[in-house]
Point group: C2
Chain length 184, copies 2
């Protein structure tokens, strides 16, 4: 807690901005999916919105320090189309985080010996890989005018690990116990 | 819906980023307040987080258009101290929106004849005035180690209007009916 180096601090701020905006647009797109008659895709968006909230909270706490203003530059995805398009926006955003953003942020945090920030970036990176795959699965269904098949979505409140239909005994990313998972 | 002018579009993106980050930090500070033994301040933060979600959603929908990436620069407040300090961060953020950000964004949207954006900025501006006053009331209490006095907080889901202990027949900002208010 309380990052020391300016570059890693910038990346935490940027990641916080990106996660906060992702949380918000997934809540909006959840409503759109439900109105289109895809309650399970709506549930998936809502659950993953919570995972992004976990990431945002982790980054925020790692920034630490006393209360202060900051200007933040962060990437976001905008627009609201049909659910198939919104899922493409979600996939693009997640893949950018998985392939570009978080690997670079994680590498920089390790290079600067910022272990708290590295942990927070690592948690997000691993969870986003799963998000990209789940949104792809949902889009495959929506393209055939079908809802995605799932009963429930479980989110680890420590790292944002996301899994369908049942939580594991221990979170494969952070080790948290089954009982801690939040069910959607 | 679907803003036409680039400058107003930039301001909507920036306001969306700012509201998304405010939503998130108020949720974090709500937890801190509850842990410090201020359940009502926790409830106030949580309710106002929802009002910021309303503002973010309004701005997002006014941006409209097809799904596309954008880099967003937005102001945020960071750090987690005691609740008295967090409330100071909240007051500073709200006052910046009331005195600087939203009046300028609203003036620009009107100048560019962007009626949808102007409506969204107007709703936020009027609600933020109330947020600044309520956070000040909460801080006055917390400075004396007391919780703020309130039974419940009501939020208008159309404009984010915020009022304690009971909703009016019609929202004074947007005219929405009493039944629509969300109670915290
Ligand atoms: Fe995330
Ligand atoms: Fe994600
Ligand atoms: Fe986990
Ligand atoms: Fe707001
Ligand atoms: Fe506000
Ligand atoms: Fe209203």
């Amino acid at each position: 807690m309380s990052v020391k180096n300016a570059m890693t601090s910038d990346f935490l701020h940027s990641a916080y901005g990106g996660e906060s905006m992702a949380h918000m647009r997934y809540l909006i797109w959840a409503e759109v999916a439900r109105k289109e008659g895809f309650p399970n895709i709506g549930k998936l968006f809502e659950a993953i919105a919570y995972a992004e909230r976990v990431h945002a909270g982790n980054h925020f706490r790692e920034i630490g320090g006393t209360t202060a203003d900051a200007a933040v530059t962060a990437g976001g995805v905008f627009g609201t189309g049909k659910t198939v398009e919104n899922l493409q926006g979600a996939i693009n955003g997640e893949l950018h985080e998985v392939e570009q953003m978080y690997p670079v942020y994680l590498s920089a945090a390790k290079f600067q010996n910022e272990t708290g920030a590295a942990r927070s970036f690592h948690f997000a990176l691993e969870a986003e890989k799963i998000h990209a795959a789940l949104f792809q699965k949902a889009q495959d269904a929506a393209k055939e005018s079908k809802d995605v098949e799932l009963k429930s979505v479980y989110i680890c409140p420590i790292c944002g690990h996301t899994i369908l239909d049942g939580a594991p005994d221990n979170c494969p990313i952070c080790g948290a116990k089954k009982e801690m998972y939040v069910e959607f």
